[in-house]
């Protein structure tokens, strides 16, 4: 399914086309004072026109930058399109950024205009206006609390629109002339990427970058005019830009803005979107909400849930593995759908969902299965800001939970000799704003360097391992990512923490901490008696249980990068023992040092390790632990 843009090669031209084609249909919808208020394509176009001319009246020229900061509201996208209509570019700023970040982006992007949503954002800007000499105007859209602010550079959104209307009366053709001057190769936006090290870099994206991405994605994951979409992730993020702006304009679907960030999930239910794009935490949140609510519900509902959920799981597995579902299971699924899945999806607002995608991080297979079981065909996507947000997506007929799918049309992906994921497509960005050195690095050899390590499976699906700099290698040079494997281990409910070891060693081993609550409950059901964590983690049956979990993970790993041996630690890793950081990240070097004896046993022939150590409690007391750990060998890789 392809969409012809009929010569409309910029966002403003598409907006004009949609205003003509779709006219009174809803383009934007915002919940305000408890009611969904619509903006039609025609009014959307009109407001962009006036705001754009208002900016021109205030001195915005071609090539000028407009910085925008605030929650997702119609004014955000209106300001963006207004800047682009006047031949300028938008610069989105994350609304929860601190002062230094906001200041850096505004100054570095040379923005003269800042559109700030409310008092909170205006305070940030005016608080450091002295350090932002290039800024000439600060425009706010929500006047609450700002009535007593008097600053020469501060004015309201309405005021800019009013000036635009005046200019439109004087020069009725000016807006159309401005729009006509734009072309696909023009700079549309600068997206600042949150650098984990150093200052953020501003990726410059053109209209054609963004539109080719939108159309290529559309070919493999189609949307329709009139579809509903809920925009609740930061608009400064490329992922939200690609949906709420690029795709919405190209396809002509309706973008809904929630009332407040906190009401997003509730608003999703009211809208019942056809298209939903969310990071893993949202999907995980929906999943756990269901599980918690099921525990509190009536006995009959719980009975239905417990009996019918396995049907969905079975059908999902059959469909994903073989592509076909036998008639018996289809009939059973029909009943389960009627009794359970449809009401459940209705509760979550997913009843009409046709395209559900997750991106930004890895999503656990159990969560994936949960949604597939109830008929929500959730897909993983992968990409960088520098390639307009997306390069890969799960194909409809081959959704594999550990991959990020296949490249979208017009996109090539290959793996460099260093194991880095490289990609090439018409959507690769122009370069970093005022940072040629970084641009050269990112685009060397004509390929976009992602900085991610990964590999391609035989069927062409891409697996992302980790950031390249976090990848380690075994003594024989085989590369592996401890974090990738640890994350997959932690997808198991029985695993609380895992540390994978193997740097410069012959094979991989794991230190695993069981989740005492879950394993404890499991043990109770199996009638296994135990006293303490140390006792529980030393049980043979618990070892068997965890071995199965690790085997499952091993199956998804290349043969050389599988875990060969593991022990269950006699205590949980703890921040108080300095084994974890306060944000619960494993302090690898410290753990390897502290458990040196165990690790050397893992690489020796020992079957058991005698432990005699002291542990520290939260109140500073210490206790002595004596235990006998066993080493479990796995049939990994056959070697």
């Amino acid at each position: 399914m392809t969409v012809a843009l009929a010569g409309a090669d910029t966002f403003p031209k598409l907006l004009a086309r949609n205003a003509e084609r779709l006219g009174a249909q809803a383009a934007l919808r915002e919940k305000d004072f408890g009611i969904w208020r619509e903006t039609s394509w025609r009014v959307y176009h009109q407001r962009v026109r006036h705001f754009s001319l208002g900016l021109v009246a205030l001195g915005l020229s071609r090539g000028g930058k407009v910085a925008i900061v605030g929650d997702n509201r119609p004014e955000w996208v209106i300001a963006e399109l207004a800047a682009q209509s006047a031949g300028g570019a938008s610069v989105g700023i994350y609304q929860d950024s601190n002062l230094t970040e906001v200041g850096f982006v505004i100054d570095h992007s040379d923005a003269r205009f800042v559109v700030a949503e409310d008092q909170e954002q205006v305070d940030k800007i005016l608080g450091m206006i002295e350090q932002l000499p290039k800024v000439t105007h600060v425009i706010y859209s929500d006047p609450r609390g700002l009535r007593r602010y008097h600053h020469e550079k501060l004015l309201s959104f309405d005021e800019v629109e009013r000036r635009g209307r005046e200019l439109a009366n004087e020069k009725p053709r000016l807006y159309e002339e401005n729009v006509a001057q734009g072309s696909g190769g023009d700079l549309a936006m600068i997206c600042y990427t949150s650098g984990t090290t150093g200052q953020p870099k501003g990726a410059m994206l053109s209209f054609s970058n963004l539109l080719t991405m939108a159309l290529n994605l559309h070919q493999v994951d189609p949307r329709k005019p009139g579809d509903e979409f809920v925009s609740f992730l930061p608009l400064a993020w490329i992922g939200e830009q690609m949906m709420s702006v690029a795709t919405a304009l190209a396809i002509g679907f309706t973008v809904n803005f929630p009332e407040e960030p906190e009401t997003a999930l509730h608003d999703i239910r009211e809208i019942g979107p056809h298209v939903l794009f969310a990071p893993p935490r949202i999907w995980e949140g929906l999943n756990s909400t269901v599980q918690v609510k099921i525990m509190d519900t009536t006995r009959i509902k719980r009975f239905l849930y417990e009996r019918l959920m396995p049907v969905g799981h079975k059908v999902a597995d059959l469909r994903l593995k073989h592509g076909r579902v036998p008639f018996f299971w289809r009939a059973l699924y029909f009943v389960a759908d009627l009794l359970l899945y449809r009401p459940l999806k209705d509760r979550l607002g997913l009843l009409r969902l046709r395209s559900g995608t997750t991106g930004g991080a890895a999503l656990g297979p159990d969560v994936f299965r949960f949604f597939h079981a109830m008929g929500v065909r959730l897909k993983q996507i992968y990409g960088q800001t520098e390639i307009s947000g997306i390069s890969c997506i799960h194909p409809d007929d081959a959704i594999k939970f550990h991959t990020v799918g296949k490249p979208i049309p017009q996109t090539e992906v290959r793996i460099s000799e260093r194991g880095e994921i490289l990609s090439r497509s018409p959507s690769v960005f122009i370069g970093y704003y005022k940072n040629d050195a970084a641009t050269r690095d990112a685009l060397s050899g004509g390929w976009l360097h992602s900085g991610d390590a990964g590999y391609l499976e035989d069927d062409g699906q891409l697996v992302v391992i980790d950031r390249l700099k976090d990848v380690l290698s075994l003594a024989d040079g085989t590369q592996f990512s401890p974090q990738y494997i640890e994350n997959r281990l932690k997808f198991s409910p029985f695993v609380k923490e895992a540390v994978v070891i193997g740097k410069d060693r012959p094979y991989l081993t794991g230190l695993v901490c069981i989740d005492s609550a879950v394993v404890g409950k499991w043990a109770e059901k199996q009638k296994i008696s135990y006293t303490t964590y140390t006792d529980l983690s030393a049980k043979g049956q618990v070892y068997d249980l965890l071995q199965k979990e690790i085997d499952k993970v091993n199956e998804t790993l290349p043969a050389a990068a599988r875990i060969r041996k593991f022990v269950l630690l006699y205590k949980e890793l703890d921040a108080d023992d300095e084994e974890l950081t306060r944000t619960r990240k494993v302090r690898r070097a410290f753990v390897e040092e502290r458990y040196r004896a165990i690790i050397s046993a893992l690489y020796g022939d020992q079957e058991r390790i005698a432990i005699d150590t002291t542990i520290k409690f939260q109140d500073g007391k210490t206790a002595r632990i004596q235990a006998n750990l066993s080493v479990r060998r796995l049939e990994a890789g056959g070697a």
Partner: protein, 256 residues
């Protein structure tokens, strides 16, 4: 002109004197606080103003009118609203329904008209819902609009109670320990709302509060009660400097 005037108020329960000859006045637009040790008669005073208790002596004049003989409902219609120390919401109903009840005194439709709905009933419903949405927006409780009250955290219930009082569109708002039992963040939010109410909307507020930091920061005027008697009345600074207040709070023999 004083919006509320209290003159020589005395309240007795059998042999116990809860209030003895208390007089003070509240200017329109002011934010006044009533403080005092436990059992000083603060809530009794508020109950007299809202009409729950009938004082044996004294007069309560609201906006130039003697309201002493009026029942609570009649005082509500004049524009006196209150919140309670122990939350008094309809626990099984949603936030929205609780707030709509707050609009009841502004509705003219009877059982019949309301039942038929179309016409006046519909217009009033729409008007009242719009007003309530403004309050929801003001107090930032959009996320809990449709939740049942008893499922909410204590601090949020307090906020809902304030919202219901605001739904009355009061000219005088009585707050009985609006911040009791809240954590620091909830207190900060509540203080901001009380201040906004006073400054942006110009609502006259009388508040009982134990948190001295809040009282001294927010209020224009402080009335101190001890054993049913007014022992001080003035700006926060004046009251803090008063020796009697210090004695009442810190103990010691109240020797003159």
């Amino acid at each position: 002109m004083a919006l509320l005037e209290i003159a020589g108020l005395s309240l007795r329960f059998g042999g116990v004197t809860a209030l003895q000859n208390v007089s003070f006045s509240v200017e329109a637009g002011a934010l006044s606080a009533i403080i005092g040790p436990n059992g000083a008669g603060k809530t009794s005073l508020l109950n007299c103003i809202s009409g729950v208790y009938r004082p044996q002596q004294g007069k309560i004049v609201f906006d130039g009118r003697d309201v002493t003989p009026l029942r609570p409902a009649a005082r509500t219609r004049l524009g006196i609203a209150r919140t309670f120390q122990n939350i008094a919401l309809f626990k099984g109903m949603t936030v929205l329904d609780n707030l709509l009840i707050g609009r009841h005194c502004h509705q003219k439709t009877g059982v019949l008209g309301g039942g038929l709905y179309y016409g006046l009933g519909e217009r009033e419903e729409i008007r009242d819902r719009a007003r309530i949405e403004e309050i929801i927006d003001f107090l930032e409780i959009q996320p809990i609009r449709k939740q049942v009250v008893h499922t909410l955290a204590y601090g949020l219930q307090k906020r809902v109670e304030l919202a219901r009082a605001l739904a009355l569109e009061p000219r005088l708002l009585l707050l009985d320990e609006p911040m009791a039992g809240m954590n620091a963040e909830e207190k900060e939010d509540m203080a901001r709302f009380v201040l906004d109410l006073s400054e942006e909307r110009g609502t006259t507020i009388v508040m009982i509060e134990h948190d001295m930091g809040v009282v001294m920061d927010l209020s224009h005027r402080v009335v101190v009660l001890n054993f049913g008697q007014k022992i001080a009345d003035g700006t926060p600074e004046e009251v803090q400097g008063s020796r009697e207040v210090q004695l009442a709070y810190l103990g010691g023999e109240a020797a003159a």
